[in-house]
Amino acid sequence: MSRFILRRVLQMIPTILAVVLIIFVIFSVVPGSFVSSLLAEGRNVTNAQVVSHLNEQFGLDQPLPVRLWDYLSGLVQGDLGTSYRTREPVWQTIAPRLWPSIKLALAAMVLAAGVGIPLGFLAALKPGSVFDSATMVVAVSGLSLPEFWFGLLLMYAFALQLGWLPSFGYQPGSISHVILPAIALGVSPMALLARTTRSGVLDVMNADFVRTGRAKGVSEPRLVRAHVARNVLVLVLTTMGLQIGALMGQAIVIEKLFSWPGIGSLLVDSVATRDIPVVQGTVLVIVLWFLIINMLVDIAYAVIDPRIKVG
């Protein structure tokens, strides 16, 4: 098992390298450099000497391969560079944002899985029923909903009009603050999970081994519990993994809307200020989160499904 995990970890490295390379190249061709954006903002960096000094300070006068090499060798030592704006190490800017982001992603996923999977399951047990059709209407609507608009409406209704929940912000340990953003963020994975679960259950219910179960005299509830559920779980797990992995990236707008101090709002803020090292760092964290979650899903697979060879 540990060899399997090690192999999966090693498989992530080329992807991470490629991501770093792509992000680095994109931001190296930025027509307006950070320094010129400071100029544009009318800060007092007007004379050429100051410009070249700043460029030198951040190593921007070096050729691209040298800068890439410096960045990569820093990365190996856990150094994500220095923020242009705060002059602090990027890691120190990102670290306090991690937990809020993870908390929001997990809360959204708990909601999505807690509602979506049972909905899909029940819908599939009575295909073609009113409940089934209604669930599928809800699902396709959930996938079409702009989540920040939905969040705005939630904020208007439950925070501003009814006053039940705080409208924005973050407090460590507070559950009430996470509810609205988590609902807004969880709607689309919920819809997707409802769909995947439904089609998974329909597939499995038609499988030969379910017919065998009936021929054995297994009752329908027991059949669903003991034979269908686990096989569906295997199908649903992939979708869940992909969704949790993508949630940190999807949360950008929601975090911004609810003034949630997570990775996403940091990314938006640093894009606005062209704080390139922080942008690179946050993108890297978002990608790492995706890769790590997917690795965990693979490991979970190996535990649940005996057909997957481990070792």
Partner: protein, 305 residues
């Protein structure tokens, strides 16, 4: 002579199966299976054999359903029985082995547990006791090192082994009737004989009646005492096996027998050609009962049991 025959385990009368009331798939099939007897249903694919087997088990899938006739099993009227009671008969008194051993077992559960489930459901055993019984069941179907195999997952076994597991599962509760639907069709030729022999031995030993569904006349000839020939949803002929092979009465049966590829029937150097049934049997001869048809208990229109 008919009077000394025992009551049949299963009695099928004028069975009709269709999609809704419009499309008929089985048109009035009748036959009896006596205790301990092996009865063969033979016919081409699509002749309605499998559907007949599934209807007895109560496993027809929508939109298929029984639209007419009677099914009697050990004194139960299977058309009026409560679904719950039918379920209790399944696995316990009537069991089924399917064609496809590769997909017929739950891929995520050890086979021992899947067999043990039979004892848990029908005998109310707890799991540890049931698992011990499952190992015995595996032993009885001649699976080598059964203790170890009980912990294996289906994908770790060969097709032949899986079918043995299916047989062990089906016979776990010593049912009165085993329905075997093409049990060896999907297997390698080399293991087919072994699985058939196993079914024959175990069922003879326990006195289990068998409904063997097959398109393979060779299999039927080796296994069955009596044979029913199905064509286009009708039972066109029924005879003792020996009589059927020596003296087929219905043109369709004659065609079926003649269509068998036989060793040495080809003239060397001449291009061999399998004869299509369509060319052998006149269309107006197909799908009709022959008037000579009788059950072992006499004329077959009224319901027994």
């Amino acid at each position: 002579m008919n009077d000394i025959l025992p009551d049949p385990v299963l009695s099928v009368r004028d069975l009709q199966i269709g999609i809704g009331n419009k499309l008929k798939i089985v048109h009035g099939v009748s036959f009896d299976i006596l205790p301990g007897e092996t009865y063969g249903l033979v016919g081409e694919s699509g002749s309605g054999k499998s559907v007949t087997g599934l209807s007895i088990m109560g496993l027809l899938k929508r939109p298929l359903n029984v639209t007419g006739g009677a099914l009697h099993f050990l004194g139960h009227d299977l058309r009026r029985i409560r679904p719950r009671d039918h379920r209790r008969l399944r696995g316990d008194r009537m069991a089924m082995v399917f064609q496809e051993p590769m997909t017929a077992l739950n891929p995520l559960a050890p086979i021992g547990r899947q067999i043990a489930e039979m004892f848990v459901i029908h005998r109310g055993m707890d799991w540890s006791e049931a698992k011990a019984k499952a190992v015995e069941a595996l032993e009885s179907v001649r699976v080598p090192s059964p203790e170890e195999r009980a912990r294996a997952y289906p994908h770790q076994l060969s097709g032949g082994m899986r079918q043995r597991v299916m047989v062990a599962m089906a016979l776990a509760c010593r049912p009165d009737l085993l329905i075997a639907d093409e049990p060896t069709t999907a297997l390698d030729v080399t293991v087919q004989a072994g699985v058939l022999e196993l079914i024959a031995d175990l069922c003879t030993a326990e006195g289990t009646a068998v409904l063997l569904i097959s398109h393979d006349l060779g299999v039927i000839a080796n296994m069955c005492q009596r044979v029913g020939v199905m064509d286009r949803g009708r039972l066109v002929e029924e005879q003792d096996t020996k009589a059927l092979f020596e003296n087929p009465m219905h043109p369709y049966t004659r065609g079926l027998l003649a269509a068998r590829p036989r060793l040495g029937s080809r003239v060397p150097g001449e291009r061999g050609r399998l004869i299509e049934l369509e060319q052998m049997v006149a269309d107006e001869d197909r799908g009709h009962d022959v008037p000579t048809l009788v059950t072992p208990r006499g004329p077959r229109k009224e319901v027994t049991a």
